[in-house]
Symmetry: D3
Subunit: 213 residues, 6 copies
């Protein structure tokens, strides 16, 4: 029982897909999602810092990188189940805490247990870093749903995911990083150029005229 | 709101993988698992019938075919979570029941609601058909773990799954179909021929001798 | 030679894709198709029963669940080959029958041979259950082609598959279940909401107004 | 109706897998197989030429590159079906011929029809180039089955495929290229080094000693 | 060290994808691309021959089939890197040449080395066959990008790839095969029928009228 | 031109596979690799800190998370190419620097350019954090090659990758984190229990005895 167990288990997160049964055009593993959320959090941290707020960068990276590791032993519990009753939500949170404590006690060597207790605990607390994580998690989900919509996936579920992500981001609308995201990133995303047949025909005809002239 | 919703949703079960993060060599969708469990149940039903027990075949097929449909809106809750405390288990079962009831009320036309309440409810009851379903579900899981072990996957988790499946099957060891499985199917599975380098070299040399003679 | 062979072979049907080279957005295995056809047949059986017709449910499940198992040793013979001449069609049907008989004799234990001869034989006969299977098989194919068209696949072959499936279903238009499908399911499928950029922009702007107000 | 149809269809061959349901570790598309057979034929042609035989290289490349194109509209008919009776075999060959003729007439412009009639016809004739194609097709199949056996796939079907491929190659054992394959290539393939735990532990311990010394 | 090494390595080209990170709907392996380029070159060769030019068919097939084999040990160097400075381009070409020479010396038996030096060298020279290869390589890339655009992939990178492919083809616009491609193939590709919802609804309604009349 | 471009591009790293053509059993995307390297670096940082060295955690996370982002526009240049001559290596490094500078100037808004110049620059410098990154990158590669060897992949290339990774790690053997890895992690990895047939048969027979007793 040492860190080999933990290090080897990272590879499991490469094979667990997010929201199984939903994404049709692109699959996203928990490992890749964790990478993207850490990248988004890093950018949101930049904005907050430039707005004059102190960022505990170690905490921000730690929270975002590790925030979904426990999905490995908890599994993917759908939102309607998780939020069915306040009592169930509390109870599930308790079980997650106790399974995580168990995991740390049994699979992490003593000298690293305190660090992993912090890393694998609930990261979305009221600290500035916890709030940035909450936003970053939804920004990635918003991009994931946009990726499907933009590629022409017609199923209304992506609209729901997009709406729900954006609504959660808006709950933090007093934050500098959310203001920046809404005013400078989101409009750019929505304005992105779409390739289509019409443009293809024009491009071809332009090239032919120009080159054959 | 009519049956189109339900029929189109069947395709979602093709994209939800069982035990994400575990199987490395072969992935199994919930749709394919449901097919295989129904096939296994059909065979176990044959054995029970030949042993003189009455089988309600409609019920047996119905139970096995539909037993995992609700995974679509419940998700994949890992066993240690589900069984953490008796209270949580009861509460999760209640939530599953109420989400299923909701789904039926909102997405199934009135005239079919009674049928789907029966089909999507808990199938593993004390009836002979419910017990056969319990066994068939584990027989498929046992074959799934054997598929990995046999292909050389060294991770000990398959041994655990194999052991747990077999242990559950053994709980029903008084059933004629389990007796048959243990005495006539399992030994055959374990005796299955393994191809290897040694045999490959011999086969090649035999063929060369024979044909070039 | 016992049932292990048959049970283990079920997994092969998970890796055989239907109509290879056609579906681009979603692949469908023979195992998953069999599951879906059995689910569709179950629903069509409900409609027939409510219309006052007796359903032999055991037969209906058995036919639909097992109707493509022999694809494992027959392979995927394209329709234009199969129907090239009446003589060839007869001959291929004879070969399929004899290969199936062979398989049952060599791989199924004696006491189960009669059951599998029935299960693996031609299911689409003139019985009510055989006709429901014919319809269910095409309803699933129609949904499979619709899945591609709806996701924006422009290749005309899906239109042909859709048309051919619907045309076959219409051959059974005197059946209560087909009447129900045409009047209550198909229109719902065609009316399904499509997500698009325009709607995305509106939703975003609505949310922003509402939440930032 | 022009060559666009044909050129665009090449991409279909990228999505048709060979022997669906058999290969577990590596899938092989018809497009990739065609590439490999042409490469193998090129090498076998070298050997024949060095042995003093005249090679019609244009014919050899043409035959090997195009030999499976018609699988696109014929499908994958399993060997036991194809060879069930001499009469069926003849009839299937006739249908293939007539479907190919049809395809050429309807989808290939007049000035290229003669070339494609030659290219899409049966390539495995008695010419030296036809015989090389017969051997090359089986050499690739032999490597495909070896790829599974070498990676530890225990299912006996690969042994059968390996044996059948080698047996067919041996039918041409009077050819210089087959002599070379048997004496200089096959032994090398069978002697290929296998990595294993034992070696891994030794390598690690050697490296540690050497570098930490 | 013999041809086994080379023959077994062909399978590696089945697992190397072209332009990783770009194609979203369809992946193309180097093996499948090589097959398609050889098929396109074969067709372009037909056109040139009918226009009265002599084709060295052996050379044309050899060049097109083998033109990307060295990607196995060179890797996928992005265009902006490759063309950053004339000096770097020359230096990379030198390294490719020397790695190829090395490979041939170490992995190809002496009697085949001359042939593979020719086959694995730069194929896109000023000969008619080298020019056809340059065109064929871009025709396949043009079809690959069209495949994404046509399926609704909105990312502008495909437009760029399409434009760059067409621009390169136009550099050879004096060739008979390019003239034919521009006048007889490209318009057909752009005119290809797109399936859409509107047409689906009409087809359904027509079928229903006709069959239920 | 704003951060949308950068954020959306993160998804491209999910579709770029590492070492294409090498890994057969498990594919690793650049995104997932970046996640794992950051996790490994976090653990190695713990060890260094406990050994009394100061860690700049912000720098360590930043370096490890972003160290392969530029692969998106550089591509995957194989090691023998990169290291062919010192001159080429220098020149490639210069091109990478200038492409990165270009990218930052054109795709990153002014106020974030300094941060991304630091993040996308060469991370493996002589600082403690740079050295930890060098080790972490190879620890992940070592686990990736072990994953193939352990699953029975016989190709000698994994042994080479394993050996080369370990040799690079050993270059840093004076570091506390490398000492810990060699003495406490590596032995555990090599001792990992392998499941096999023998154990399967024993487990089955034990379970049968125990439960049927």
């Amino acid at each position: 029982m040492g860190m080999n167990q933990f290090l080897q288990s990272l590879s499991d997160l490469e094979t667990i897909n997010r929201a199984p049964g939903y994404f049709k055009f692109e699959q996203h593993s928990v490992a890749a999602h964790s990478f993207k959320v850490a990248e988004v959090a890093q950018f949101l941290g930049d904005v907050e810092e430039q707005a004059g707020h102190d960022i505990n960068w170690r905490l921000l990276y730690e929270k975002s990188l590790n925030h979904d590791y426990t999905e490995r032993f908890i599994g993917d519990i759908k939102t309607p189940v998780k939020y069915a009753t306040p009592q169930l939500r509390t109870m599930l949170a308790d079980v997650e805490k106790s399974l995580t404590a168990n995991f740390i006690e049994n699979e992490i060597p003593t000298q690293f247990q305190a660090a992993y207790a912090r890393r694998l605990g609930e990261g979305k607390d009221d600290s500035l870093e916890g709030q940035i994580l909450s936003v970053a998690d939804k920004v990635d989900l918003l991009y994931e749903s946009f990726g499907e919509i933009q590629k022409g996936n017609p199923e209304p579920v992506y609209m729901s995911i997009y709406r729900e992500s954006l609504a959660t981001i808006l709950k933090f609308k007093q934050m500098a990083c959310v203001q920046y995201f809404l005013s400078a990133v989101l409009p750019e995303m929505l304005a992105a150029d779409f390739s289509d047949r019409q443009k293809l025909a024009e491009l071809t005809s332009d090239l032919l005229k120009e080159k054959q002239a």
